[in-house]
């Protein structure tokens, strides 16, 4: 049988004549060239993503050794790009701690210092601007967020007839953004902080659409961060420089708060409108607020159970 086939092929010669050859070869060459050309951006892949980064596992699957390697790699990358050697680490949640924040709407005057302190602390992109906190100037007599204006540009604040409501990630106990993530790149940590693994995020922006508080931001282009303005105090899950095409949000400054410090927005507030602490500690200042002030949450009817409380106080 095998002999027969061989004989036939030898007898008929190759299954193509000269005309076919001349017709098909240029098409084939063009195909290959087009394919090679179209794939040519991959030649530069080494500059944007290393093989190691491409093969990196999900945050929760990284062993301590893996994490050490990842941190070393990112430290080198940051140093190469910004000429600053960051103090990058993976800050893990503390036992017996659940964070919450409360904001006194009577006291907030809408000065926006928290917005900019947050940007400086968390290495957000300066252009395009990424800001985690949105200060809404609200007409008195309504709590409808749709009526708030966040780009008020006035000589002096507060303006008569208005109150000011800073809105950021509410660190919901029942977070809609986490539910919609198709790749589990965002999840809730044991201390209540909703975190994002920037190396796992695919940039689908479902979470951004799901968030009823407009708290998530997307890096449409490569974040622009002047080297002089880099805050070298960095954590893996929070303020390390982000790549293009990922979602980010407020993390309660976990690089600070998980080491016992106050978040940046609180420390800069000139009116002392913010209170932050551990709700599991009955003697903490946040527990005092929850026990003694009439606190409320935004869009309570959605059942998101925010860990971010608002209150009015004389």
């Amino acid at each position: 049988m095998a002999d027969l086939i061989t004989t036939r092929q030898t007898a008929d010669g190759p299954d193509m004549n000269r005309r076919d050859f001349l017709k098909k070869t240029p098409v084939a060459v063009a195909w290959v060239a087009a394919l090679a050309g179209a794939l040519s951006p991959l030649r530069n892949l080494g500059d944007t993503i290393s093989a190691e980064e491409f093969l990196q596992s999900h945050y929760k699957e990284l062993s301590p050794d893996d994490m050490k390697r990842v941190l070393a790699r990112i430290t080198d990358e940051v140093e190469r790009e910004y000429r600053v050697r960051p103090h990058l680490r993976d800050v893990t949640p503390m036992d017996g701690v659940q964070f919450a924040m409360a904001l006194n709407l009577t006291r907030c005057i809408g000065c926006r210092k928290c917005v900019h302190a947050c940007v400086e602390e968390n290495n957000q992109s300066r252009s395009p601007e990424i800001q985690y906190i949105r200060v809404l100037e609200m007409p008195q007599g309504t709590m409808d967020m749709e009526r708030g204006n966040h780009d008020y540009d006035v000589e002096q604040v507060p303006r008569d007839g208005h109150f000011y409501m800073p809105v950021q990630c509410q660190q919901c106990e029942n977070p809609p953004c986490v539910k919609v993530c198709p790749v589990e790149a965002t999840w809730q940590e044991p201390d209540g902080i909703v975190a994002v693994d920037y190396n796992w995020c695919i940039g689908c922006r479902y979470c951004e659409a799901a968030c009823p508080y407009w708290a998530r931001r997307f890096n449409f282009s490569k974040p622009e961060l002047p080297a002089e303005d880099v805050n070298p105090d960095m954590a893996y899950l929070s303020n390390r420089p982000r790549p293009k095409g990922v979602v980010e949000k407020c993390t309660f400054c976990l690089q600070r708060t998980r080491e016992g410090r106050y978040p940046a927005c609180l420390e800069v507030c000139p009116t002392g409108s913010r209170v932050f602490g551990n709700v599991l500690d009955p003697d903490s200042s946040i527990s005092y607020i929850l026990k003694n002030k009439r606190v409320f949450v935004l869009k309570e009817e959605l059942g998101t159970r925010p860990r971010f409380y608002y209150f009015f106080d004389s």
């Binding site: 050309g37 210092k113 601007e129 966040h150 016992g260 106050y262």
Partner: protein, 183 residues
């Protein structure tokens, strides 16, 4: 058509995408945690290079506790503190380097919050709990101290209402963060 496409790809006619260069630094001007005021813990007057304490003048000029005008060196003081219209509502006239307490006893300038607490009880209680005024440092006592600002670091004792201020720049709609909430 296909050959043209191939040619375009091979010659890389679209060119490289220009990488965004880090822009001009604006500095980290909002990372400072200063309070609104820098209170005079021991009020002093500076004149032709010398510093004087209260008593150095007032041993010669006795104070009339009915006086409501602020003369000479005190014209810059704007008094707008509710019913407190006289100096001796807060200052001890016989001993001007301290503040007045009940029954002729006194409070040091360094502990002025005790004087405020005499009228503003609920606020004083909240302040002691750490929820009125802004703390700095550590929420976790085992890691470090939570530094409280005192009353006079934010409120002028003569005119205590919190003063309006110029807001920091609004988000730039053209450069992101804006729109109707997303981005």
């Amino acid at each position: 058509m296909l050959a043209l496409l191939a040619l375009c790809f091979v010659l890389d006619l679209w060119g490289e995408v220009e990488p965004v260069q880090p822009g001009q630094s604006k500095g980290r001007q909002y990372s400072a945690n200063e309070t609104v005021r820098d209170p005079l813990l021991a009020p002093r007057l500076e004149k032709i290079g010398f510093e004087y304490g209260c008593v150095e003048c007032h041993r010669n000029f006795s104070l009339d506790n009915k006086r409501r005008q602020r003369l000479a060196e005190h014209t810059s003081i704007e008094l707008d503190h509710g019913a407190n219209s006289r100096c001796d509502n807060c200052h001890l006239l016989d001993k001007l380097d301290v503040l007045v307490d009940y029954e002729g006893s006194h409070i040091a300038f360094e502990e002025s919050e005790k004087l405020c607490g005499k009228c503003h009880g609920p606020k004083y209680r909240d302040w002691k709990e750490g929820v009125h005024g802004r703390p700095n440092g550590y929420w976790l006592a085992s890691r470090g101290e939570s530094v409280k600002a005192t009353c006079v670091q934010c409120h002028s004792p003569h005119s205590p209402a919190f003063k309006p201020m110029t807001p920091a720049p609004a988000p730039d709609e053209r450069r992101g963060s804006g729109g109707n909430g997303h981005g």
